[in-house]
Amino acid sequence: MHIVVCIKQVPDSAQIRVHPVTNTIMRQGVPTIINPYDLFALEEALRLRDKHGGEVTVLTMGPPMAEDSLRKALTFGADRAVLLTDRFFAGSDTLATSYALAAAIAKIGEVFGKPEIVFTGKQTIDGDTAQVGPGIAKRQNLLQLTYVSKIAKVDLAGGKIEVERRAEGGIQVLETKLPVLITMLEGTNDMRRGSMADALRAARAEVVVWSAKDAGIEDLLKCGLRGSPTVVKRVFAPSPRAEKARQIMIEPTALETADKLIEDIFGTLPALETELVELHQTL
């Protein structure tokens, strides 16, 4: 089977700092990583390939340096990497991104074989929109299964797939037909380390680099800034809270000081004490 996994190179948000005086982002030297949510999608794809045979193609859209994240995916064991890069894509929001990726996936289908499954992570850590995966499905007219927590069964011959999907009140067990787009929930698997053989192969591998034209994208008005209905107008720092916490310095093991804190809490929230005492009766 052929599986396409869409990944994104993102800044490691844990390492982003804001300049204390100018309130601007200090981008210099912030390392980039593969969007952590995408790794669950990649691992799931690799497992399916190992079980059913076939190939995994990783796809990303971004600046030329996004090739790093593709190479990383190859070291985990992906078979092929495609980088979609073009100045026309600059400034893309989720709608423009899903348009370009959908076109690239169609092209991948023509060149390397039609994928049975397209995977994405549930969202990215820098955008958090969770719109690109479903957007690709919509553009490609693919069925979509979002927030999948488990792939229960793949029946390639019958063209069917059974999954568990996280819904608000529980888990849905769903069956649908292939091809399908799946957005994978976090915590569903542990990313493999990748073998030495994969690392060597990744170092030598050719990453397929496509421009908008290469990917068969005709309508450049749907790409990049021009194809993006949402516009970021202002970026600003959150205002600090006016008053600071009342600090209590205490002996950590003294019960009286714990009592003092509780007095303070229930002094502020008297109704809560009544509720908690009532709750205690029923426990």
Partner: protein, 364 residues
């Protein structure tokens, strides 16, 4: 941050882009809230959104509508009554048994038909697994996980959300596309007051689909009630632990205090990354947003990404050895001490205080 707070400048209208709204989009009027109903129950986030939607509709001088998809029956009737009680002027209702459970195909068609027929200018959805999945179908682009919504001078929606890992905020506009859409996470907005109100205008619209049109089938549904899934977002009291607790076995101290209080427990992001607690327990911008009456944070430094997830708490008590930890900038009461040693004492003190014989003291 010592610099003066950079609050947003007044909006210049249409984001100052000098772009006229295309003529055919001017027909879009009114504010809608997608009332998320799954298995006969409306998600509380929908009522929180009605509160926000009411403010936007009043500023724009338009009507606020709830848009409900689901099967006919008691659940639907109740949803309609509650939608009016929480501030809607009218309801758009699509009743069909095919809408009992969320499946993308019928929900996409249903919402698309409603929006294309009745044309709202703004559509708000909960940032839930359902809301985020169905929102994409309209292909208009949207602003996700907003923390603030406003209407600018030209009546465009200005949607503000955290960016760059929550260290900054940004305001986003949807130009030249309608409806303008935003998703908001549960508990980010406060619950508006409920007022008994007669049911007003209800517009019904058919789904026009049969089961055979739908490829995806539901084989089973395993409710969280059976599996004891956490409900952090809606807990009244939450106790959370951070890296300051130092070791995985100290997570138990957090659980013990939570148990004594009948509370939920959670943690900061590094704890999940270390594998000391599961991801569903994470509190913060990339985890759950909570809005409890009481929040006790033990050994959490209070990075901005944690702060945005807990700011809605009525009272925040922080326990940390570092008196300069950022958490003391937004906590109400700070205890500068070692949480590992203090938590057992606090647990014991709470247990004593809440024990049954204290009930008489309270009653008296």
């Amino acid at each position: 941050m010592s610099a003066a707070p950079t609050t947003p400048a007044p909006a210049a209208g249409r984001a100052g882009m000098k772009k006229e709204l295309p003529e055919h989009f001017k027909a879009y009027k009114g504010v809608w809230v997608f009332m998320e109903m799954e298995r006969g129950v409306v998600h509380p986030v929908s009522f929180e959104l009605l509160g926000e939607g009411r403010k936007l509709a009043d500023q724009l001088g338009v009507e606020l509508a709830g848009c409900i998809l689901g099967p006919a029956g008691e659940g639907m009737n109740h949803a309609v009554v509650e939608t009016f009680a929480y501030g809607a002027d009218l309801c758009y209702v699509m009743e069909d048994p095919l809408l009992t459970d969320y499946r993308n195909e019928p929900y996409s068609k249903g919402l698309t038909d409603l929006v294309n027929t009745y044309k709202p200018e703004i559509l708000l959805l909960g940032a839930t697994t359902l809301g985020r999945s169905v929102a994409t179908t309209l292909l208009t682009g949207l602003t996700a996980d907003c923390t603030e919504l406003a209407v600018d001078a030209d009546k465009s929606l200005a949607a503000t959300r955290p960016t760059f890992g929550g260290s900054l905020l940004c305001t986003i506009y949807t130009l030249n596309f309608r409806p303008q859409m935003a998703t908001i996470r549960p508990r980010v907005m406060s619950m508006p007051e409920r007022q008994d109100k007669p049911v007003g205008k209800v517009v019904t619209h058919p789904l026009n689909m049969v089961e055979d049109d739908i490829v995806t089938k539901i084989l089973n549904f395993i409710a969280d009630r059976q599996t004891g899934k956490v409900n952090l977002a809606y807990a009244d009291v939450v106790v959370a632990g951070g890296l300051g607790l130092g070791a995985v076995e100290n997570m138990q101290l957090v659980k013990n205090l939570a148990k004594a209080l009948g509370a939920e427990y959670g943690c900061s992001r590094p704890i999940v990354q270390k594998g000391w607690m599961p991801a569903e327990r994470q509190i913060g911008q990339t985890g759950k947003t909570i809005r409890p009456k009481l929040y006790i944070a033990a050994g959490i430094s209070g990075a901005i990404q944690h702060r945005v997830g807990v700011e809605g708490a009525d009272m925040i008590v922080a326990i940390n050895t570092d008196k300069n930890a950022p958490i003391f900038d937004f906590a109400h009461v700070g205890v500068v001490t070692d949480a590992v040693r203090f938590l057992p004492a606090l647990t014991e003190a709470f247990t004593r205080r809440l024990s049954p014989h204290n009930r008489d003291r309270l009653a008296g």
